[in-house]
Point group: C2
DNA sequence: TGAATAAGTTAACCATGATTCGCGGCCAGG
DNA sequence: CCTGGCCGCGAATCATGGTTAACTTATTCA
């Protein structure tokens, strides 16, 4: 276990700085940048909060360092010869850094424009590491397509950080490896001839409460729950901050309302999809279709649903997590039914990979290419689940 | 008493914002910007510290507002017709705003470059209000000379904020009024033909401790005691912050050491001056000469001595204040001896005015005009004390 | 009169600054 | 030779302060 270092018993170890970043990275992934206090980080490390300032200029600097460290570790570990070896390395990194890989997923939102650019560049480098040999191996792929597939593959690897489903490390490595390979073997998205009549930005105006909820969801998605305050929400809805409390008992309840809304939509979509399914494979296909559609139709809502699981008020957390888990288990049930040889734990990892992939690529794709991506994502889901 | 407002008994009065600035101004003058916490200001006002943020963006904004308010009040009160009436108005402002007039003296150091410029402009406006009619009344004066005399007059008015000598308001007003008038009637500084061989910056290098003390004094003078931290001091002396404690038990003790040093110099100069004096008037003259010389020779030291009286550790404060008071009393003794009709309280106010004048103009004058100002200041001291 | 706003409060949290502690290097004296 | 104190430093702590955010209460206004 190279990650943990024996700080107990020794006074003032030399790796304090790295250790702080390590601890912070894990905590940030667990509860989000704003959900972790400096004092907590320090406590885990075994020092007082102000002592952290001997090593980092401020809290933000820790986030930057942690992000850099993860990126460097990934870049370093995957700097190997051979395409297969590289994919192995990616899988291995995902597994060993499972607790911190979430930084790739959400926490970059809190980076400065400057650091976001830096991070984006490094991410692009990782992407090219996959896309380039892929393009070489499949000359039919356009560079953009190769990159899109590479992005999907990285999303598969990154998915391990988004959940805590129990699985042996070796197994996880193999499963992710296979899924990523399958993704990379998929046909690229075929651009739709017609730009398709996408539903214009829904200007749904309900009551004040509904407006508040909608605006909150949009803000939560863009900046993250903790970075949005009641004043922002009020302003977005055109009222004073204190008036928000006329409609919601507290900030947490707004998030909870969003989650209930999201879980309703998801279960509804699931039910509709399963209703007229001919067999297991058909059910999976319809599930994929409806899930992708939901993701595009209500992208803000789904993003928040996936990102802000922590931050939920304790009271609602359990129930909502249960619903989320049930949704995943619905997929798992279908997958194991269709692939009898597959262990449930593996199916679970694959499901998370598939769902994560939809979220990541859905966020990435430009709106005018939506319908093309739509069909592509359905295919990718199936490819992952059957891998 | 228009300044105080009856906040007691009423809930949520309308003048909260002004009241905060008012309270803050007084506290800032009493103990310095950094010596006053927001919580303290809030407590005096009768609210909690965070509530202050409903009225001001941050602590600094209060300083700016307080400064602006004082300047505006002064500009407003002295916007009258007639030179004599205007001087009366200045005296009245000094008396009524005695507790906050110290903002003019020291606290502008903590202003941003931008606000310092704004403050400087307003100060210049006040200056012109005196200088212009003065130049009209005394055509022999060059514009620069008129401005210098006006500055001296304002310094006289401002001196009331630098001490707490007890005196009836009406008396103080008269005394200041007369002193300022006397200053304005003085001959301007005659520029010395020879730039005079000023002593080059004294590169006195003693032990580490001596270097530390010297650098601390220089820093304290430039930025103020609270704005200088141990690290700055250490860096200026070329050692690590923690090493400072090898030479001084604490930060306060450095300031105390500076004060002991200053009081030694002052009493020494006083003793030398009084030693060979022929009579009272001669003694006063020699006192003035030696004090002015000291101010120029050790300008940093004297500035700190005058500015950082608060901030002294409780232990040394009393003794050092006593020495300072004794020094003033030495002047007062001489003045009343020479002018039997003058009350001691008035002599005290005049002495403070004279000393403050030296500090202000000494700080203002460019180095190349030093010798001219030298003689001029001696004359001004005498003019004030004899007014 | 009731909804909306202004102005408060409490409880964090990040950050700073003064101060302490222990270690290591250097140098004089036994 | 080695040894003890002086020095210097890095790393820690404690106390405190400014600031923010969620939530509440008083006041205003249509």
């Amino acid at each position: 276990m190279p990650v943990q270092s024996p700080t107990v018993g020794r006074r003032r170890p030399k790796d304090r700085k790295d250790r702080i970043a390590q601890v912070a990275a894990e905590l940030f992934c667990e509860r989000g940048y704003h959900g972790v206090s400096l004092e907590e980080i320090a406590a885990v490390v075994g020092i007082s909060a102000p002592a952290v300032y001997r090593h980092y200029e401020n809290k933000y600097a820790i986030l930057v360092a942690a992000t850099r460290e993860l990126v460097a570790a990934t870049l370093n570990a995957t700097d190997v010869v051979g395409f297969d070896a590289m994919l192995d390395a990616f899988a291995a990194v995902a597994v060993t850094h499972r607790k911190t890989v979430g930084l790739y997923q959400w926490e970059w939102r809190y980076l400065t424009e400057e650091h976001r650019r830096e991070f984006g560049d490094d991410l692009g480098r990782l992407l090219h590491r996959v896309a380039e040999p892929l393009a070489a191996a499949r000359p039919a792929l356009s560079p953009a397509d190769a990159e899109a597939l590479a992005r999907a593959a990285l999303s598969v690897f990154g998915s391990l950080g988004t959940h805590r489903a129990v699985i042996a490390k070796g197994r996880a490595e193999q499963v992710l490896r296979r899924a990523a390979a399958a993704v990379l073997a998929t046909e690229p998205p075929t651009p739709a001839a017609v730009p398709a009549a996408v539903t214009p930005p829904p200007v749904r105006v309900g009551g004040r409460r509904e407006i508040l909820l909608a605006e909150s969801i949009r803000l939560f998605r863009r900046r993250g729950y903790h970075a949005v305050n009641i004043e922002d929400i009020g302003r977005a809805a055109g009222i004073n901050a204190s008036s928000v409390y006329r409609y919601f008992p507290g900030k947490g309840d707004i998030l909870a309302a969003a989650f209930y809304r999201a879980s309703e939509r998801v279960t509804e979509a699931t039910a509709v999809a399963l209703n007229g399914a001919a067999d297991g494979a058909d059910a999976l296909h319809r599930m994929a279709e409806s899930y992708v559609e939901l993701t595009f139709e209500r992208s803000d809502l789904v993003s928040v649903y996936l990102a802000e699981n922590n931050n939920l008020p304790e009271a609602d957390r359990h129930e909502l997590r249960k619903v989320q888990r049930l949704h995943v288990e619905e997929w798992v049930r279908l997958v194991v039914a269709v692939r009898p040889g597959l262990a449930a734990s593996e199916a679970r990892v694959l499901t998370h990979a598939a769902l994560n992939l939809v979220a990541d690529l859905g966020r990435w794709v430009r709106f005018d290419r939506r319908t093309a991506m739509d069909r592509h994502l359905v295919r990718l889901i199936e490819v992952v689940l059957w891998s």
